[in-house]
Symmetry: D2
Amino acid sequence: MILFNCDYNEGAHPSVLKKLAQTNLEQAPGYGADPYCRAAAKQIAQACHAPQADIHFLCGGTQTNLTVIAACLRPYQCVISAESGHINVHETGAIESTGHRIHTLPAEQGKITAEQIERVCKNHWQDDNPEFAPQPKLVYLSFPTEYGTLYSKAELDAIRRTCDANNLFLFIDGARLGYGLQAPGNDVTLPDIAALADIFYIGGTKLGALLGEAVVITNQKLKKDFRYFMKQKGAILAKGRVLGLQFAALFENNLYFSLARQANQLALKIRQACEAAGLQIAYDSPTNQQFVIFPNTLLTKLEETYVFAHTRYLNKNETLIRICTSWATREEDVQQLVLDIQKYAGK
Amino acid sequence: MILFNCDYNEGAHPSVLKKLAQTNLEQAPGYGADPYCRAAAKQIAQACHAPQADIHFLCGGTQTNLTVIAACLRPYQCVISAESGHINVHETGAIESTGHRIHTLPAEQGKITAEQIERVCKNHWQDDNPEFAPQPKLVYLSFPTEYGTLYSKAELDAIRRTCDANNLFLFIDGARLGYGLQAPGNDVTLPDIAALADIFYIGGTKLGALLGEAVVITNQKLKKDFRYFMKQKGAILAKGRVLGLQFAALFENNLYFSLARQANQLALKIRQACEAAGLQIAYDSPTNQQFVIFPNTLLTKLEETYVFAHTRYLNKNETLIRICTSWATREEDVQQLVLDIQKYAGK
Amino acid sequence: MILFNCDYNEGAHPSVLKKLAQTNLEQAPGYGADPYCRAAAKQIAQACHAPQADIHFLCGGTQTNLTVIAACLRPYQCVISAESGHINVHETGAIESTGHRIHTLPAEQGKITAEQIERVCKNHWQDDNPEFAPQPKLVYLSFPTEYGTLYSKAELDAIRRTCDANNLFLFIDGARLGYGLQAPGNDVTLPDIAALADIFYIGGTKLGALLGEAVVITNQKLKKDFRYFMKQKGAILAKGRVLGLQFAALFENNLYFSLARQANQLALKIRQACEAAGLQIAYDSPTNQQFVIFPNTLLTKLEETYVFAHTRYLNKNETLIRICTSWATREEDVQQLVLDIQKYAGK
Amino acid sequence: MILFNCDYNEGAHPSVLKKLAQTNLEQAPGYGADPYCRAAAKQIAQACHAPQADIHFLCGGTQTNLTVIAACLRPYQCVISAESGHINVHETGAIESTGHRIHTLPAEQGKITAEQIERVCKNHWQDDNPEFAPQPKLVYLSFPTEYGTLYSKAELDAIRRTCDANNLFLFIDGARLGYGLQAPGNDVTLPDIAALADIFYIGGTKLGALLGEAVVITNQKLKKDFRYFMKQKGAILAKGRVLGLQFAALFENNLYFSLARQANQLALKIRQACEAAGLQIAYDSPTNQQFVIFPNTLLTKLEETYVFAHTRYLNKNETLIRICTSWATREEDVQQLVLDIQKYAGK
């Protein structure tokens, strides 16, 4: 079987493994105080044009989300998120487990708007007893979203202005950040993200690393004592070097970005094959995740060879399918899938 | 500088890296559902003589402790631990962060006794209003302890009986389990641990892996829904294979145990050199961690070449030092340290 | 000004105060172990036809909701509630603060259905990775709802069957239970409530007491250690007698129920006046809360004399208003309000 | 039986009940926004010489402690308390339930010292990895302590200086504050308490009220959003007037203080009788709680007529007993107890 169901089916990019092997027996201090973490942090800060940023390396997405959000909020404050946001649909209530409500908003194409956020704040503060509801204090977005879609620079600017006007922090979940930044048509840069968000992260797990997410904190208020939060949540890795080394490899020669670009191109080929076959594209994603409505007959046929993610059961005849490429997707597998879609879709 | 301060200064045993490299581009499902995790779980269950056990792979010690303890307790219940227990001294209140009190007991040589546990329970249940104090429900021990010491089989049997008599779970933190099991004089086996504990873990991070702890659940009551706890705490790694593969490598040909034995032997050499030099050994540890009281003059001299962990500042003239070996410690480094202790201790 | 905005604008029914005064200097044990609590518990158990029920007295609604829900759930489990449920709209995230998600459902007239609950469970358990979302374990309903509406016996029966089929507990928030049970057209009795719910409470604060809610636990599984939960949440009153005495007074000669009936009748008069004046009734409430859409011109006029609760700003010209009666509402005030509605509504 | 076991065996001082009765049918807004709460807050602020203080009324001690402490700390911070502190021995882990460790200190006569607190802070900040332990941020004291003893003005001044030097908040639990302030030999005034603490409370439950604790916040940083904390913890009473009215009654004509003085005098009589009978006084308490070591033979005899609290089982022959007086203790009961001690102690 060929797996297109997600972007974490393989190990790590060979450069990553190579760096781990080369440095393997060197001794280095634990808990992220090693030279590899320091070097990777420097590379990332440079790439972000944010020399003053604090950079921390964590293991995975849920861990990062719950640690960051706990660090941004007081107990009675809530985080605003798209209903389809990862923290709301795929993390077993990890945010609530730290005591906070997720204030969800209906999302168009996985995205929320400055206007929606504004309304939440207005409703809260106009109430006679605002203290009877959780106080909005943080906006959570993903770039790209759960559906592979992207916010435009103008949309993010508007959200930032709303955050400023309402004293909210902005946290951008970048589990797939590279795929978003390298997408055709995207007008947002990594320095833009760093300038717009108070805190965000650059995902390694889904883009070339064995594991690892790099949290970037640009807002001075959120820097203090962040490592206490990490340690309390079990998010300081003893061998922090394992994370630092991987990000060092990924940020050498723009590897992180070229891997993303290549994955996006392969995803686009699949999308074009689906469109040519008359299949409906559910979300307008220019990134490595494509959401396509498949007739079940076609799906059954293809699933003899390929694995996809079943996102939603639409009706008796159709299913919403996610097809992912990644840094590790092989061109020949995509070529075969394209041919098979052409071959079976007509029937 | 040569680092003897802890047992996680290097990467992973070469067999571990090799396995990661060999399988790197194979596709496998995420979240621990891959064949490598399954194989490693089988190897571990066999080594434990516990074919019915559930095995889960997590990333690090604090994460494992907080996940396991949360899974064992209802909100008003507490965990009993030595005052010197890792959860009490080195995890930023991670247990309290999940809502639970640690009921600490003074510990002799890092160990607590069945009698102490019994007394806690008796005091609780004899009170007129037991519900005004957290209810004891779980015993947390480390094998070896924070000071490298070991419980005897008889001591663990007594604790188990106390747990049974008082309806308590027993959780054994095995972050350094291999070092304990392979220690000279130890009379406890891995199957003993599996039979005595309701839940325990086998530490990889400190014994040959890049990261990873294998939780073994033998009590049926604790198996249900454990993965919900893991996910909620951010403790399900997307690329679970990274953990499974490492444990598979470590449990091939007893690698885990032979690495531990070798580290213990090197630690013993250091201990003997310290004793021969008239230094006081603070804890009776037969494992890879040695706790020695150093005159500061000697310490200063040695610290030109070596790094140790400063465990406690005893007085103006003396410091309690931890010296660690590990699977990665080089014999020649130990030899040199031994010579330097001989050389400088006399002065 | 005459207050119709809520049902807790006055102190307590005179019988309640009298009982407090009569027993004031008698000595009694604290924490609910007094004879008054015991007597009240017996009266309540009898009224419920539930002699085996455990009865506990708490201070207020939010406190009761958070204590009960924490006692019903493990950390990864969630509670299902109407979006308009009190725990979701008026308690500052108290439930999330104890670590649990509220799984909200859109509510028709403040009510949710067995079918909706069934679908939540089916969606959860059919997912390939159910452990990636909070596990449904508890249904929270109010009787009456936030909008004064009532579930029919058939609706509650259906919900109970769904709970049984899906291994869910059912918790009924009865902050205004008396008003519901005494409403015209209601076909649910107190013994029905006790038989249907696993745990529920009878509200005193809004029906004759200074403060106090009586929790009734009929499910054996939820009885154990409930007082630990209460104490940990600060919900055991030192002078428990204060609560026991009030419920003893309210359950003498059915006072609780006759007060409710009278308040409902006064509310109905107001409703009829509104209907007669052509105002739109927003929810079909036969209880002491009436939700009416007021033209702002009329509202402004009436608010020279009366205080109402502004439930929602509908548009430039209209506001959704809550008008409450209570055990303490004076007939002459209602009469005057009715006349004023007649007088000003035409304009 | 005559109860001397605690100070909450009766209802409320008649002035309190009278005020509740007189205002019973007046309408007033809920949640503490009523004129009675406002008036009581003003009286209290005046008595504290703290016109800028924020005053909030809560129901009971545990509720107040958990709400205040949650409001003072970030998730990774801990509260320093005497081992014998109420939050550590009598609240079912309520503080840990909100996520925080209690850093306990051994207490002499129930009291901790500035030096002990200083050492905790020094140890924390001198560690190489302070973020691996909870960060000290708050000191919790009781005035009087659990053993009825008092801090001197000089002791409190020293603690305040230590708090300032280490950036700690100081929270004083005044569940029995009146008894402490009115004790013979006490040199601390209510304005002193208000000037020394960042936040403290004045206990009503144990000194004349049915229930109620008045929180006084003098530190500007702790004022913001305190009501969110209250609501989230279920600590805003719907009929807030019930609390405001009681404090208004207690702070009229210094009733609160004269009741305390009288209770202290009665306690002193009991203490003198015990001393005269050769019994050992365990703690040097000038307040309404007396801790006396009783031979079990004497105890058994007295317990035919009186109820005491058994604080600790010392040995086969002796028990540590708490004897409480209160605002409601009758002089004739004390007189009889004194006579019975004289009568039976000799035997």
